[in-house]
Symmetry: C2
Subunit: 258 residues, 2 copies
């Protein structure tokens, strides 16, 4: 075996996550069950859902009073006005509201459908109508999880939090990094020479999004059997700094598509 | 070791690719050198550049006469009018031309900067000023490579062709599938139940783009040491058909961002 290799392993067997659950010990145990106890240089990719669940980011639609704006949008899009109200509360701006699609900029700055507010894979108890929000500070959530795993295991790992997001011109969703810690989320290659010594035309690489997409392939969508993926052998470029996932958000003044 | 695992291995040691070179024997040899001879179920991800080079998709700017439209755009964007002319020839439509960025829809339907026309990592001989175009039919190129590797090795593999592409609202480029063969590029999950039996809200997954992004991480950008990546252990969902990469292109009538 020669050359560079990267292995992604689905971490399974986690229980259903409830508000207040500490994820670090559950993920450490899952990595050990997979025969891959965390080691320096590993990257742990965690699905947004279990982070949000552990942080109790639920809203019960039964307690939501839709505004006039939410009612108007809901009628236009054919949606539940209470659900629309929650999306609006999580949004800084509506980017598109057409053809039963509501694309917004979240308070984090992420452009995505429905502000990531989701009812899939959310348990309902006692007649509840809960929806799940994104973590309030995904980079902070990633940093906290990274620190706690480091404290418990001594391993210096990186943590990404991913979610599945649509794109402007492409069908289907892909995994995207909404949170990152200890990872060069965006790598600036400006000034690097190409193989013939000319400056590269491609200048920045969204490495956290690429690895988040890779991990999505092992997580599946229909169940939470594998809400985390361990990446071993990620070939971190030399001399590049850690950057949070928020650095992947294009500043609005550079946005050509709003 | 338990659970699902996927391994990506960079395939290196390929020579510079010239027009007419047969890629299949070179990639088969590279996989063998890596200790991973092709086996049923493998996915081979190949960088667009070497496919284009083997297909001789060069244009020498010295022979290009820019149209008035190309000259006007070049002046506005601060670019070489001959390069702009080549991009226009490869484009069905200009999507944005602002701030030195030219985003087009290629004849394939892919929305990307500069129609993928690139001068990085292109050798220049005898004073040439060559640029490299995308393959004319990337799904066809992937299918031909897949068939030839199958013929030579007996292995039933999938082939993706990837390129690095920008996004509307995100910084940095990510790997994207522009060609695919033997692979479920877009997987329709409509009707699948979530873990509590309700229909999934996420309905289609762009698996080829996710795997193309993963492979990009091992290819690097500054050299062609690894213009191909072998993926072993891709967990193909049951009962989903092969779909070409062109199925990942959002039909224009469903596009909210032009």
């Amino acid at each position: 075996m020669t050359g560079r290799q990267m292995t992604l392993a689905a971490l399974g067997g986690l229980p259903l996550i409830a508000p207040g659950d500490a994820l670090a010990p559950l993920l450490i145990a899952a990595a050990e069950r997979a025969g891959l106890p965390f080691a320096d240089g590993d990257v742990l990719v965690v699905a947004q859902k279990i982070v949000s669940k552990s942080e109790g980011r639920y809203v019960d639609l039964r307690g939501v009073s839709p505004s006039a704006r939410a009612q108007e949008l809901a009628a236009r899009l054919g949606k539940d006005p209470r659900h629309i109200q929650v999306i609006l509360s999580e949004s800084a701006e509506i980017v598109r509201a057409e053809r039963s699609v509501l694309i917004v900029e979240t308070h984090h700055g992420i452009v995505m459908a429905n502000a990531g507010v989701d009812q899939s894979n959310v348990s309902q108890e006692g007649g509840s109508e809960r929806v799940l929000l994104l973590p309030r500070d995904p980079d902070g959530s990633a940093a906290a999880l990274r620190a706690e795993i480091g404290r418990l295991t001594g391993a210096d790992i990186a943590v990404l939090i991913n979610d599945s997001v649509g794109r402007a011109w492409r069908q289907g969703v892909v995994g995207l990094a909404i949170g990152a810690a200890g990872f060069p989320s965006l790598v600036d290659r400006r000034g690097s020479p190409d193989m013939f010594g000319r400056p590269l035309e491609v200048t920045e690489i969204a490495m956290a999004d690429e690895l988040a997409a890779a991990a999505s392939l092992l997580m599946g969508q229909a169940d939470e059997a594998s809400p985390a993926v361990l990446v071993r052998g990620f070939n971190r470029p030399k001399d590049v700094p850690d950057r949070p996932a928020r650095d992947l958000i294009r500043p609005k003044e550079m946005d050509l598509f709003r």
